[in-house]
Protein backbone atom coordinates (compact mmCIF):
# COMPACT_ATOMS: atom_id res chain seq x y z
CA UNK A 1 0.00 0.00 0.00
CA UNK A 2 1.01 3.62 -0.41
CA UNK A 3 2.69 5.13 2.65
CA UNK A 4 -0.23 7.42 3.45
CA UNK A 5 -2.54 4.45 4.06
CA UNK A 6 -0.38 3.11 6.86
CA UNK A 7 -1.22 3.80 10.48
CA UNK A 8 0.93 6.75 11.66
CA UNK A 9 3.68 5.59 14.06
CA UNK A 10 2.34 7.60 17.00
CA UNK A 11 -1.19 6.14 16.68
CA UNK A 12 -0.02 2.55 16.30
CA UNK A 13 -0.69 -0.24 18.80
CA UNK A 14 0.91 -3.61 18.01
CA UNK A 15 -1.39 -6.57 18.71
CA UNK A 16 -0.07 -10.11 18.43
CA UNK A 17 -1.85 -12.37 15.94
CA UNK A 18 -3.04 -14.94 18.47
CA UNK A 19 -4.60 -12.27 20.67
CA UNK A 20 -6.40 -10.71 17.72
CA UNK A 21 -7.52 -14.13 16.50
CA UNK A 22 -8.98 -14.98 19.90
CA UNK A 23 -11.01 -11.76 20.25
CA UNK A 24 -12.26 -11.70 16.65
CA UNK A 25 -13.32 -15.34 16.89
CA UNK A 26 -15.19 -14.65 20.13
CA UNK A 27 -16.97 -11.68 18.55
CA UNK A 28 -18.17 -13.81 15.61
CA UNK A 29 -19.43 -16.47 18.05
CA UNK A 30 -21.26 -13.79 20.04
CA UNK A 31 -23.16 -12.56 16.99
CA UNK A 32 -24.39 -16.06 16.27
CA UNK A 33 -21.85 -17.72 13.94
CA UNK A 34 -21.29 -21.48 14.22
CA UNK A 35 -17.86 -22.61 15.49
CA UNK A 36 -16.80 -23.54 11.97
CA UNK A 37 -18.00 -20.27 10.37
CA UNK A 38 -16.50 -18.15 13.16
CA UNK A 39 -13.14 -19.90 12.71
CA UNK A 40 -13.33 -19.46 8.93
CA UNK A 41 -14.36 -15.80 9.00
CA UNK A 42 -11.64 -15.02 11.55
CA UNK A 43 -9.03 -16.80 9.44
CA UNK A 44 -9.90 -14.64 6.38
CA UNK A 45 -9.77 -11.37 8.35
CA UNK A 46 -6.49 -12.30 10.01
CA UNK A 47 -4.87 -13.18 6.67
CA UNK A 48 -5.78 -9.67 5.43
CA UNK A 49 -4.09 -8.27 8.52
CA UNK A 50 -0.93 -10.30 8.09
CA UNK A 51 -0.74 -9.54 4.34
CA UNK A 52 -1.20 -5.80 4.96
CA UNK A 53 -4.50 -5.60 3.17
CA UNK A 54 -5.54 -3.15 5.88
CA UNK A 55 -8.57 -2.05 3.93
CA UNK A 56 -10.13 -5.47 4.44
CA UNK A 57 -8.89 -6.30 7.90
CA UNK A 58 -10.40 -5.99 11.34
CA UNK A 59 -9.85 -2.20 11.57
CA UNK A 60 -12.09 -1.26 8.70
CA UNK A 61 -14.49 -4.17 8.52
CA UNK A 62 -15.20 -5.90 11.85
CA UNK A 63 -17.56 -3.23 13.17
CA UNK A 64 -19.48 -3.26 9.86
CA UNK A 65 -20.08 -7.00 10.07
CA UNK A 66 -21.43 -6.73 13.60
CA UNK A 67 -23.78 -3.97 12.47
CA UNK A 68 -24.89 -5.95 9.38
CA UNK A 69 -25.79 -8.97 11.50
CA UNK A 70 -27.62 -6.77 14.04
CA UNK A 71 -29.59 -5.11 11.23
CA UNK A 72 -30.47 -8.48 9.67
CA UNK A 73 -28.55 -7.90 6.39
CA UNK A 74 -26.19 -10.77 7.14
CA UNK A 75 -27.52 -14.17 8.14
CA UNK A 76 -25.15 -15.57 10.80
CA UNK A 77 -26.39 -19.14 10.23
CA UNK A 78 -26.81 -19.45 6.43
CA UNK A 79 -28.11 -22.61 4.86
CA UNK A 80 -26.41 -22.23 1.47
CA UNK A 81 -27.56 -24.53 -1.31
CA UNK A 82 -26.47 -25.65 -4.77
CA UNK A 83 -29.15 -24.63 -7.25
CA UNK A 84 -27.53 -25.86 -10.50
CA UNK A 85 -24.62 -28.16 -11.25
CA UNK A 86 -22.50 -29.81 -13.97
CA UNK A 87 -19.19 -31.74 -13.64
CA UNK A 88 -17.21 -28.45 -13.89
CA UNK A 89 -19.67 -25.80 -12.64
CA UNK A 90 -22.27 -24.99 -10.02
CA UNK A 91 -24.44 -22.10 -8.87
CA UNK A 92 -24.94 -21.52 -5.16
CA UNK A 93 -27.54 -19.51 -3.25
CA UNK A 94 -25.63 -18.10 -0.25
CA UNK A 95 -28.74 -17.45 1.88
CA UNK A 96 -27.36 -14.04 2.94
CA UNK A 97 -24.31 -15.66 4.51
CA UNK A 98 -21.20 -13.58 5.11
CA UNK A 99 -19.09 -14.12 1.98
CA UNK A 100 -15.93 -15.04 3.74
CA UNK A 101 -17.62 -17.73 5.81
CA UNK A 102 -19.41 -19.25 2.78
CA UNK A 103 -16.99 -18.74 -0.15
CA UNK A 104 -14.17 -20.91 1.29
CA UNK A 105 -16.59 -23.83 1.55
CA UNK A 106 -17.67 -23.25 -2.05
CA UNK A 107 -14.03 -22.97 -3.17
CA UNK A 108 -13.45 -26.45 -1.70
CA UNK A 109 -16.18 -27.71 -4.00
CA UNK A 110 -14.54 -25.97 -7.01
CA UNK A 111 -11.21 -27.62 -6.09
CA UNK A 112 -12.91 -31.03 -6.00
CA UNK A 113 -14.40 -30.42 -9.44
CA UNK A 114 -11.00 -29.34 -10.75
CA UNK A 115 -9.46 -32.53 -9.40
CA UNK A 116 -12.04 -34.56 -11.35
CA UNK A 117 -12.22 -32.65 -14.65
CA UNK A 118 -9.36 -30.11 -14.68
CA UNK A 119 -11.52 -27.08 -13.85
CA UNK A 120 -14.14 -26.08 -11.33
CA UNK A 121 -16.02 -22.77 -11.47
CA UNK A 122 -18.88 -21.75 -9.20
CA UNK A 123 -21.12 -18.67 -9.13
CA UNK A 124 -22.78 -17.48 -5.92
CA UNK A 125 -25.88 -15.32 -5.59
CA UNK A 126 -27.45 -13.66 -2.55
CA UNK A 127 -24.11 -13.33 -0.77
CA UNK A 128 -22.64 -10.71 1.52
CA UNK A 129 -19.21 -9.10 1.86
CA UNK A 130 -16.46 -11.45 0.63
CA UNK A 131 -13.55 -10.09 2.68
CA UNK A 132 -10.12 -10.13 1.03
CA UNK A 133 -10.86 -12.26 -2.04
CA UNK A 134 -7.22 -13.29 -2.45
CA UNK A 135 -7.91 -15.65 0.47
CA UNK A 136 -10.37 -17.64 -1.65
CA UNK A 137 -8.06 -17.78 -4.67
CA UNK A 138 -5.12 -18.77 -2.42
CA UNK A 139 -7.05 -21.82 -1.19
CA UNK A 140 -6.13 -23.45 -4.51
CA UNK A 141 -2.37 -23.16 -3.86
CA UNK A 142 -1.85 -26.16 -1.52
CA UNK A 143 -3.69 -28.29 -4.11
CA UNK A 144 -1.25 -27.23 -6.85
CA UNK A 145 -4.05 -25.40 -8.58
CA UNK A 146 -4.51 -21.87 -9.87
CA UNK A 147 -7.24 -20.05 -7.97
CA UNK A 148 -9.45 -17.24 -9.25
CA UNK A 149 -12.03 -15.30 -7.25
CA UNK A 150 -14.35 -12.37 -7.91
CA UNK A 151 -16.89 -10.51 -5.84
CA UNK A 152 -19.32 -7.89 -7.10
CA UNK A 153 -22.13 -5.67 -5.93
CA UNK A 154 -23.14 -2.10 -5.24
CA UNK A 155 -22.37 0.97 -7.30
CA UNK A 156 -20.12 3.68 -5.89
CA UNK A 157 -18.16 4.13 -9.17
CA UNK A 158 -19.19 5.93 -12.37
CA UNK A 159 -18.43 4.32 -15.78
CA UNK A 160 -15.82 6.09 -17.96
CA UNK A 161 -17.41 9.39 -19.20
CA UNK A 162 -20.31 8.88 -16.73
CA UNK A 163 -21.68 11.37 -14.19
CA UNK A 164 -23.51 8.87 -12.01
CA UNK A 165 -22.19 5.79 -10.18
CA UNK A 166 -23.36 2.52 -11.76
CA UNK A 167 -20.77 -0.08 -10.77
CA UNK A 168 -18.68 -1.17 -7.82
CA UNK A 169 -14.87 -1.35 -7.87
CA UNK A 170 -15.33 -5.13 -8.08
CA UNK A 171 -12.06 -6.99 -7.51
CA UNK A 172 -10.48 -9.94 -9.32
CA UNK A 173 -7.93 -12.18 -7.58
CA UNK A 174 -5.61 -14.82 -9.02
CA UNK A 175 -3.25 -17.06 -7.05
CA UNK A 176 -0.68 -19.20 -8.85
CA UNK A 177 1.56 -21.80 -7.18
CA UNK A 178 5.34 -21.63 -7.39
CA UNK A 179 8.02 -24.02 -6.17
CA UNK A 180 10.50 -22.15 -3.94
CA UNK A 181 9.54 -18.51 -4.57
CA UNK A 182 6.57 -16.86 -2.80
CA UNK A 183 3.43 -17.55 -4.85
CA UNK A 184 2.02 -15.08 -7.37
CA UNK A 185 -1.01 -13.57 -5.62
CA UNK A 186 -2.83 -10.76 -7.41
CA UNK A 187 -5.85 -9.08 -5.80
CA UNK A 188 -6.91 -5.90 -7.56
CA UNK A 189 -9.98 -3.75 -7.39
CA UNK A 190 -11.14 -2.42 -10.75
CA UNK A 191 -11.07 1.12 -9.38
CA UNK A 192 -8.05 3.38 -9.03
CA UNK A 193 -8.45 3.00 -5.31
CA UNK A 194 -10.21 0.33 -3.22
CA UNK A 195 -13.48 1.78 -1.95
CA UNK A 196 -12.40 1.05 1.61
CA UNK A 197 -9.33 3.23 1.11
CA UNK A 198 -11.63 6.28 0.97
CA UNK A 199 -12.71 5.40 4.51
CA UNK A 200 -9.06 4.96 5.51
CA UNK A 201 -8.11 8.33 3.97
CA UNK A 202 -10.90 10.06 5.85
CA UNK A 203 -9.95 8.39 9.15
CA UNK A 204 -6.37 9.56 8.67
CA UNK A 205 -7.38 13.04 7.48
CA UNK A 206 -5.23 12.49 4.39
CA UNK A 207 -5.60 14.44 1.13
CA UNK A 208 -6.97 13.24 -2.22
CA UNK A 209 -4.56 11.50 -4.60
CA UNK A 210 -4.73 13.06 -8.10
CA UNK A 211 -6.56 10.99 -10.72
CA UNK A 212 -8.18 8.38 -8.50
CA UNK A 213 -11.48 9.99 -7.52
CA UNK A 214 -14.09 12.18 -9.12
CA UNK A 215 -16.29 15.04 -8.04
CA UNK A 216 -20.00 14.32 -7.74
CA UNK A 217 -20.54 15.23 -11.44
CA UNK A 218 -17.96 12.67 -12.58
CA UNK A 219 -15.09 15.12 -13.21
CA UNK A 220 -11.77 13.52 -12.19
CA UNK A 221 -10.07 15.31 -9.25
CA UNK A 222 -6.54 15.98 -10.47
CA UNK A 223 -5.15 17.87 -7.44
CA UNK A 224 -4.54 17.31 -3.72
CA UNK A 225 -7.31 18.52 -1.44
CA UNK A 226 -9.44 17.36 1.47
CA UNK A 227 -11.46 14.27 0.47
CA UNK A 228 -14.96 15.62 -0.41
CA UNK A 229 -17.88 13.83 1.25
CA UNK A 230 -19.56 13.14 -2.09
CA UNK A 231 -16.43 11.97 -3.98
CA UNK A 232 -16.65 8.90 -6.22
CA UNK A 233 -13.80 6.51 -6.85
CA UNK A 234 -12.75 6.42 -10.53
CA UNK A 235 -12.22 3.21 -12.52
CA UNK A 236 -8.61 2.01 -12.61
CA UNK A 237 -6.72 4.24 -15.03
CA UNK A 238 -8.47 7.38 -13.80
CA UNK A 239 -8.93 9.08 -17.16
CA UNK A 240 -9.79 7.63 -20.57
CA UNK A 241 -6.37 8.65 -21.94
CA UNK A 242 -4.69 6.50 -19.30
CA UNK A 243 -7.06 3.57 -19.78
CA UNK A 244 -9.97 4.05 -17.34
CA UNK A 245 -12.18 2.11 -19.77
CA UNK A 246 -10.14 -0.95 -18.80
CA UNK A 247 -10.86 -0.60 -15.08
CA UNK A 248 -14.48 0.21 -15.81
CA UNK A 249 -14.86 -2.87 -18.02
CA UNK A 250 -13.04 -5.20 -15.62
CA UNK A 251 -15.61 -4.15 -13.05
CA UNK A 252 -18.35 -5.03 -15.55
CA UNK A 253 -16.74 -8.44 -16.18
CA UNK A 254 -16.78 -9.12 -12.43
CA UNK A 255 -20.44 -8.08 -12.24
CA UNK A 256 -21.25 -10.38 -15.16
CA UNK A 257 -19.43 -13.47 -13.84
CA UNK A 258 -20.50 -13.07 -10.22
CA UNK A 259 -23.84 -11.27 -10.51
CA UNK A 260 -25.46 -11.70 -13.92
CA UNK A 261 -24.35 -15.33 -14.32
CA UNK A 262 -25.56 -16.33 -10.84
CA UNK A 263 -28.98 -14.66 -10.81
CA UNK A 264 -28.99 -11.44 -12.79
CA UNK A 265 -27.97 -9.10 -9.98
CA UNK A 266 -26.57 -5.63 -10.72
CA UNK A 267 -27.20 -2.02 -9.71
CA UNK A 268 -27.68 -0.69 -6.19
CA UNK A 269 -27.20 -2.85 -3.11
CA UNK A 270 -30.30 -4.56 -1.86
CA UNK A 271 -29.36 -4.70 1.80
CA UNK A 272 -25.67 -5.15 1.01
CA UNK A 273 -26.26 -8.00 -1.44
CA UNK A 274 -23.16 -9.23 -3.22
CA UNK A 275 -22.46 -11.98 -5.73
CA UNK A 276 -19.29 -14.05 -5.96
CA UNK A 277 -17.42 -16.30 -8.37
CA UNK A 278 -14.59 -18.74 -7.73
CA UNK A 279 -12.64 -21.01 -10.05
CA UNK A 280 -9.87 -23.57 -9.63
CA UNK A 281 -7.63 -24.76 -12.47
CA UNK A 282 -5.63 -27.95 -11.96
CA UNK A 283 -2.09 -27.30 -13.20
CA UNK A 284 -1.54 -31.01 -13.78
CA UNK A 285 -4.47 -31.08 -16.23
CA UNK A 286 -2.65 -28.62 -18.49
CA UNK A 287 1.03 -29.24 -17.89
CA UNK A 288 3.68 -31.21 -16.05
CA UNK A 289 3.38 -29.94 -12.46
CA UNK A 290 7.08 -29.99 -11.60
CA UNK A 291 8.00 -28.15 -14.75
CA UNK A 292 5.24 -25.58 -14.27
CA UNK A 293 6.26 -24.73 -10.74
CA UNK A 294 9.91 -24.40 -11.60
CA UNK A 295 9.01 -22.22 -14.63
CA UNK A 296 6.91 -20.07 -12.30
CA UNK A 297 9.95 -19.63 -10.03
CA UNK A 298 12.04 -18.59 -13.03
CA UNK A 299 9.36 -16.16 -14.24
CA UNK A 300 8.88 -14.58 -10.79
CA UNK A 301 12.66 -14.15 -10.47
CA UNK A 302 12.82 -12.69 -13.98
CA UNK A 303 10.27 -10.03 -12.98
CA UNK A 304 11.75 -9.31 -9.54
CA UNK A 305 15.26 -9.08 -11.04
CA UNK A 306 14.30 -6.30 -13.48
CA UNK A 307 16.76 -3.42 -13.02
CA UNK A 308 14.89 -0.70 -11.09
CA UNK A 309 13.99 2.62 -12.69
CA UNK A 310 15.62 5.77 -11.27
CA UNK A 311 14.29 6.54 -7.78
CA UNK A 312 13.35 2.95 -6.97
CA UNK A 313 15.22 0.25 -5.08
CA UNK A 314 13.67 -2.86 -6.52
CA UNK A 315 10.89 -4.38 -8.60
CA UNK A 316 8.19 -6.61 -7.11
CA UNK A 317 5.69 -9.09 -8.45
CA UNK A 318 2.14 -9.51 -7.15
CA UNK A 319 2.21 -11.14 -3.73
CA UNK A 320 5.92 -10.64 -3.01
CA UNK A 321 5.53 -7.50 -0.90
CA UNK A 322 2.64 -9.04 1.04
CA UNK A 323 4.65 -12.22 1.63
CA UNK A 324 7.60 -10.30 3.05
CA UNK A 325 5.45 -8.05 5.22
CA UNK A 326 3.52 -11.03 6.60
CA UNK A 327 6.75 -12.51 8.00
CA UNK A 328 7.31 -9.27 9.91
CA UNK A 329 3.73 -9.08 11.17
CA UNK A 330 3.84 -12.67 12.41
CA UNK A 331 6.84 -11.69 14.54
CA UNK A 332 5.95 -8.17 15.65
CA UNK A 333 2.16 -8.23 15.61
CA UNK A 334 -0.42 -6.22 13.67
CA UNK A 335 -0.19 -2.42 13.82
CA UNK A 336 -3.70 -1.25 14.76
CA UNK A 337 -4.78 2.37 15.01
CA UNK A 338 -5.53 3.59 18.55
CA UNK A 339 -9.08 4.29 17.51
CA UNK A 340 -9.53 0.66 16.43
CA UNK A 341 -8.23 -0.68 19.73
CA UNK A 342 -10.69 1.62 21.52
CA UNK A 343 -13.47 0.22 19.37
CA UNK A 344 -12.44 -3.33 20.33
CA UNK A 345 -12.57 -2.38 24.01
CA UNK A 346 -16.07 -0.98 23.66
CA UNK A 347 -17.21 -4.07 21.69
CA UNK A 348 -15.74 -6.61 24.12
CA UNK A 349 -17.31 -4.63 26.94
CA UNK A 350 -20.70 -4.60 25.22
CA UNK A 351 -20.55 -8.37 24.50
CA UNK A 352 -19.14 -9.18 27.94
CA UNK A 353 -15.84 -10.60 26.60
CA UNK A 354 -12.32 -10.33 27.96
CA UNK A 355 -10.61 -7.29 26.41
CA UNK A 356 -8.22 -7.57 23.47
CA UNK A 357 -4.83 -8.56 24.86
CA UNK A 358 -1.87 -6.21 24.21
Amino acid sequence: MFEHFHVPEEDEVRIMLDALRKTVNELFLKIGFSDQDAWQATDVLLLSDTRVVDTHDVSNMMRNYIRMVAEGFVNPTPNWTITRETPTTANVDCDRGLGFAVIPQVMKLAIEKARDTGIGAITMSNGRHAGMIAYHAMMALPHDMIGYAITAGGQPMPPTFGAEPRLAPNPHAWAVPTDKEPPFVLDISSSSLAMNKLTLLRRMNALTIPGVMAESDGTPIMDEREVPDDAFVLPNGGTRELGSHKGYSLSAVAQIFAGILSDGAFGPYEGGQMSHFVAAYSVEAFADLHRFKSSMDDFMQYLADTPPAPGHDRVYYAGLMEHEESIDRHERGIPLHNEVVEWFDSATDEFDLTPLER
Partner: protein
Protein backbone atom coordinates in the same frame (compact mmCIF):
# COMPACT_ATOMS: atom_id res chain seq x y z
CA UNK B 1 -10.07 4.54 -30.11
CA UNK B 2 -8.77 7.93 -29.09
CA UNK B 3 -8.95 10.53 -31.86
CA UNK B 4 -5.20 10.70 -32.50
CA UNK B 5 -5.10 7.02 -33.54
CA UNK B 6 -7.50 7.51 -36.46
CA UNK B 7 -6.30 7.86 -40.05
CA UNK B 8 -6.19 11.59 -40.88
CA UNK B 9 -8.99 12.65 -43.29
CA UNK B 10 -6.62 13.63 -46.12
CA UNK B 11 -4.89 10.21 -46.06
CA UNK B 12 -8.08 8.08 -46.07
CA UNK B 13 -8.87 5.58 -48.84
CA UNK B 14 -12.15 3.69 -48.44
CA UNK B 15 -12.08 0.03 -49.49
CA UNK B 16 -15.11 -2.28 -49.67
CA UNK B 17 -15.16 -5.15 -47.17
CA UNK B 18 -15.43 -7.87 -49.88
CA UNK B 19 -12.49 -6.46 -51.84
CA UNK B 20 -10.31 -6.26 -48.75
CA UNK B 21 -11.32 -9.80 -47.74
CA UNK B 22 -10.54 -11.20 -51.19
CA UNK B 23 -7.11 -9.61 -51.51
CA UNK B 24 -6.18 -10.51 -47.94
CA UNK B 25 -7.26 -14.13 -48.50
CA UNK B 26 -5.18 -14.19 -51.71
CA UNK B 27 -2.15 -12.96 -49.79
CA UNK B 28 -2.51 -15.75 -47.22
CA UNK B 29 -2.98 -18.30 -50.04
CA UNK B 30 0.18 -17.00 -51.69
CA UNK B 31 1.97 -17.63 -48.39
CA UNK B 32 1.03 -21.30 -48.73
CA UNK B 33 -1.96 -21.57 -46.38
CA UNK B 34 -4.82 -23.94 -47.29
CA UNK B 35 -8.00 -22.11 -48.41
CA UNK B 36 -9.99 -22.65 -45.23
CA UNK B 37 -7.13 -21.37 -43.06
CA UNK B 38 -6.51 -18.41 -45.37
CA UNK B 39 -10.18 -17.45 -45.08
CA UNK B 40 -10.16 -17.74 -41.28
CA UNK B 41 -7.03 -15.59 -41.06
CA UNK B 42 -8.33 -12.96 -43.53
CA UNK B 43 -11.68 -12.84 -41.77
CA UNK B 44 -9.89 -12.22 -38.47
CA UNK B 45 -8.04 -9.21 -39.88
CA UNK B 46 -11.11 -7.76 -41.57
CA UNK B 47 -13.20 -8.30 -38.41
CA UNK B 48 -10.68 -6.10 -36.59
CA UNK B 49 -10.93 -3.41 -39.29
CA UNK B 50 -14.74 -3.54 -39.37
CA UNK B 51 -14.88 -3.13 -35.58
CA UNK B 52 -12.56 -0.12 -35.71
CA UNK B 53 -9.74 -2.07 -34.07
CA UNK B 54 -7.25 -0.80 -36.65
CA UNK B 55 -4.24 -1.76 -34.57
CA UNK B 56 -4.99 -5.38 -35.43
CA UNK B 57 -6.36 -5.00 -38.95
CA UNK B 58 -4.72 -5.24 -42.33
CA UNK B 59 -2.85 -1.92 -42.03
CA UNK B 60 -0.55 -2.88 -39.19
CA UNK B 61 -0.52 -6.65 -39.31
CA UNK B 62 -0.69 -8.07 -42.83
CA UNK B 63 2.80 -6.92 -43.84
CA UNK B 64 4.22 -8.35 -40.59
CA UNK B 65 2.60 -11.70 -41.24
CA UNK B 66 3.98 -11.81 -44.80
CA UNK B 67 7.44 -11.11 -43.43
CA UNK B 68 7.05 -13.80 -40.76
CA UNK B 69 5.94 -16.38 -43.36
CA UNK B 70 8.95 -15.49 -45.50
CA UNK B 71 11.33 -15.79 -42.56
CA UNK B 72 9.85 -19.19 -41.73
CA UNK B 73 8.53 -18.02 -38.37
CA UNK B 74 4.94 -18.92 -39.26
CA UNK B 75 4.28 -22.39 -40.64
CA UNK B 76 1.48 -22.20 -43.28
CA UNK B 77 0.77 -25.97 -43.09
CA UNK B 78 1.28 -26.89 -39.45
CA UNK B 79 0.79 -30.33 -38.00
CA UNK B 80 -0.59 -29.26 -34.63
CA UNK B 81 -1.62 -31.78 -32.00
CA UNK B 82 -3.24 -32.20 -28.59
CA UNK B 83 -0.51 -33.22 -26.13
CA UNK B 84 -2.53 -33.35 -22.87
CA UNK B 85 -6.26 -33.59 -22.29
CA UNK B 86 -9.04 -34.01 -19.72
CA UNK B 87 -12.80 -33.67 -20.15
CA UNK B 88 -12.60 -29.90 -19.58
CA UNK B 89 -9.07 -28.90 -20.61
CA UNK B 90 -6.37 -29.57 -23.17
CA UNK B 91 -2.91 -28.38 -24.16
CA UNK B 92 -1.98 -27.95 -27.82
CA UNK B 93 1.41 -28.00 -29.52
CA UNK B 94 0.78 -25.60 -32.40
CA UNK B 95 3.79 -26.32 -34.65
CA UNK B 96 4.24 -22.59 -35.36
CA UNK B 97 0.69 -22.20 -36.70
CA UNK B 98 -0.63 -18.76 -37.51
CA UNK B 99 -2.25 -17.75 -34.21
CA UNK B 100 -5.25 -16.26 -36.02
CA UNK B 101 -6.11 -19.72 -37.34
CA UNK B 102 -4.92 -21.83 -34.41
CA UNK B 103 -7.01 -19.96 -31.82
CA UNK B 104 -10.15 -20.35 -33.95
CA UNK B 105 -9.65 -24.12 -34.23
CA UNK B 106 -8.80 -24.44 -30.55
CA UNK B 107 -11.81 -22.36 -29.51
CA UNK B 108 -13.91 -24.98 -31.29
CA UNK B 109 -12.34 -27.66 -29.09
CA UNK B 110 -13.08 -25.57 -25.98
CA UNK B 111 -16.67 -25.02 -27.13
CA UNK B 112 -17.15 -28.75 -27.62
CA UNK B 113 -15.82 -29.46 -24.13
CA UNK B 114 -18.03 -26.75 -22.61
CA UNK B 115 -21.10 -28.18 -24.31
CA UNK B 116 -20.33 -31.55 -22.68
CA UNK B 117 -19.09 -30.64 -19.18
CA UNK B 118 -19.87 -26.92 -18.68
CA UNK B 119 -16.43 -25.41 -19.30
CA UNK B 120 -13.65 -25.86 -21.79
CA UNK B 121 -10.19 -24.26 -21.45
CA UNK B 122 -7.26 -24.93 -23.74
CA UNK B 123 -3.67 -23.69 -23.63
CA UNK B 124 -1.58 -23.40 -26.80
CA UNK B 125 2.22 -23.50 -27.01
CA UNK B 126 4.56 -22.77 -29.93
CA UNK B 127 2.05 -20.58 -31.79
CA UNK B 128 2.43 -17.18 -33.44
CA UNK B 129 0.63 -13.80 -33.41
CA UNK B 130 -3.07 -14.34 -32.67
CA UNK B 131 -4.48 -11.15 -34.21
CA UNK B 132 -7.33 -9.37 -32.43
CA UNK B 133 -8.05 -11.68 -29.47
CA UNK B 134 -11.75 -10.76 -29.37
CA UNK B 135 -12.07 -12.58 -32.73
CA UNK B 136 -11.48 -15.85 -30.89
CA UNK B 137 -13.62 -15.27 -27.80
CA UNK B 138 -16.45 -14.03 -30.06
CA UNK B 139 -16.62 -17.52 -31.56
CA UNK B 140 -18.24 -18.76 -28.31
CA UNK B 141 -21.17 -16.37 -28.64
CA UNK B 142 -22.93 -18.27 -31.41
CA UNK B 143 -23.13 -21.17 -28.96
CA UNK B 144 -24.61 -19.04 -26.15
CA UNK B 145 -21.36 -19.33 -24.27
CA UNK B 146 -19.07 -16.77 -22.64
CA UNK B 147 -15.75 -16.66 -24.47
CA UNK B 148 -12.40 -15.76 -22.92
CA UNK B 149 -9.08 -15.54 -24.75
CA UNK B 150 -5.56 -14.49 -23.77
CA UNK B 151 -2.33 -14.34 -25.71
CA UNK B 152 1.09 -13.96 -24.11
CA UNK B 153 4.62 -13.45 -25.29
CA UNK B 154 7.43 -10.99 -25.78
CA UNK B 155 8.91 -8.38 -23.47
CA UNK B 156 8.11 -4.83 -24.52
CA UNK B 157 6.62 -3.48 -21.29
CA UNK B 158 8.38 -2.54 -18.05
CA UNK B 159 7.13 -3.92 -14.71
CA UNK B 160 6.10 -1.22 -12.18
CA UNK B 161 9.35 0.44 -10.93
CA UNK B 162 11.33 -1.45 -13.60
CA UNK B 163 13.84 -0.01 -16.06
CA UNK B 164 13.85 -2.88 -18.56
CA UNK B 165 10.94 -4.45 -20.48
CA UNK B 166 10.11 -7.94 -19.19
CA UNK B 167 6.51 -8.57 -20.24
CA UNK B 168 4.29 -8.36 -23.30
CA UNK B 169 1.43 -5.88 -23.18
CA UNK B 170 -0.67 -8.98 -23.46
CA UNK B 171 -4.45 -8.69 -23.76
CA UNK B 172 -7.38 -10.37 -22.05
CA UNK B 173 -10.72 -10.57 -23.84
CA UNK B 174 -14.15 -11.54 -22.61
CA UNK B 175 -17.24 -11.87 -24.78
CA UNK B 176 -20.69 -12.30 -23.25
CA UNK B 177 -23.89 -12.89 -25.25
CA UNK B 178 -26.86 -10.58 -24.65
CA UNK B 179 -30.50 -10.67 -25.75
CA UNK B 180 -31.38 -7.73 -28.01
CA UNK B 181 -28.49 -5.47 -27.01
CA UNK B 182 -25.16 -5.72 -28.83
CA UNK B 183 -23.00 -8.27 -26.99
CA UNK B 184 -20.47 -7.29 -24.32
CA UNK B 185 -17.08 -7.56 -26.07
CA UNK B 186 -14.05 -6.51 -24.03
CA UNK B 187 -10.54 -6.75 -25.50
CA UNK B 188 -7.95 -4.87 -23.46
CA UNK B 189 -4.18 -4.88 -23.50
CA UNK B 190 -2.56 -4.86 -20.09
CA UNK B 191 -0.49 -1.80 -21.05
CA UNK B 192 -1.69 1.80 -21.00
CA UNK B 193 -1.74 1.64 -24.77
CA UNK B 194 -1.61 -1.37 -27.14
CA UNK B 195 1.96 -1.80 -28.42
CA UNK B 196 0.53 -1.75 -31.93
CA UNK B 197 -0.82 1.74 -31.32
CA UNK B 198 2.74 3.02 -31.11
CA UNK B 199 3.12 1.56 -34.63
CA UNK B 200 -0.08 3.37 -35.68
CA UNK B 201 1.17 6.63 -34.15
CA UNK B 202 4.41 6.24 -36.12
CA UNK B 203 2.54 5.47 -39.37
CA UNK B 204 0.31 8.51 -38.86
CA UNK B 205 3.29 10.61 -37.65
CA UNK B 206 1.50 11.59 -34.42
CA UNK B 207 3.07 12.82 -31.20
CA UNK B 208 3.36 10.68 -28.04
CA UNK B 209 0.51 10.91 -25.55
CA UNK B 210 1.62 11.87 -22.02
CA UNK B 211 2.09 9.00 -19.59
CA UNK B 212 1.93 6.02 -21.94
CA UNK B 213 5.42 5.56 -23.38
CA UNK B 214 8.96 5.84 -22.17
Amino acid sequence: MLEHFHVPEEDKVFVRREDLLKTTTDVFLAMGMPLEDAELAANGLITADIRGCETHGVSNMLRNYVEQFREGKINPTPNWKIIRETSAVATIEADRSHGLVMCQRVMDIAIEKASKVGIGAVTIQNSTHAGMMAYHSMRAMEHDMIGYAITGGGAIMVPTYGAEPRLGSVPHTWVVPAGKMPPFVLDISSSSVAANKIGLLQTHRCKTAAGIAR
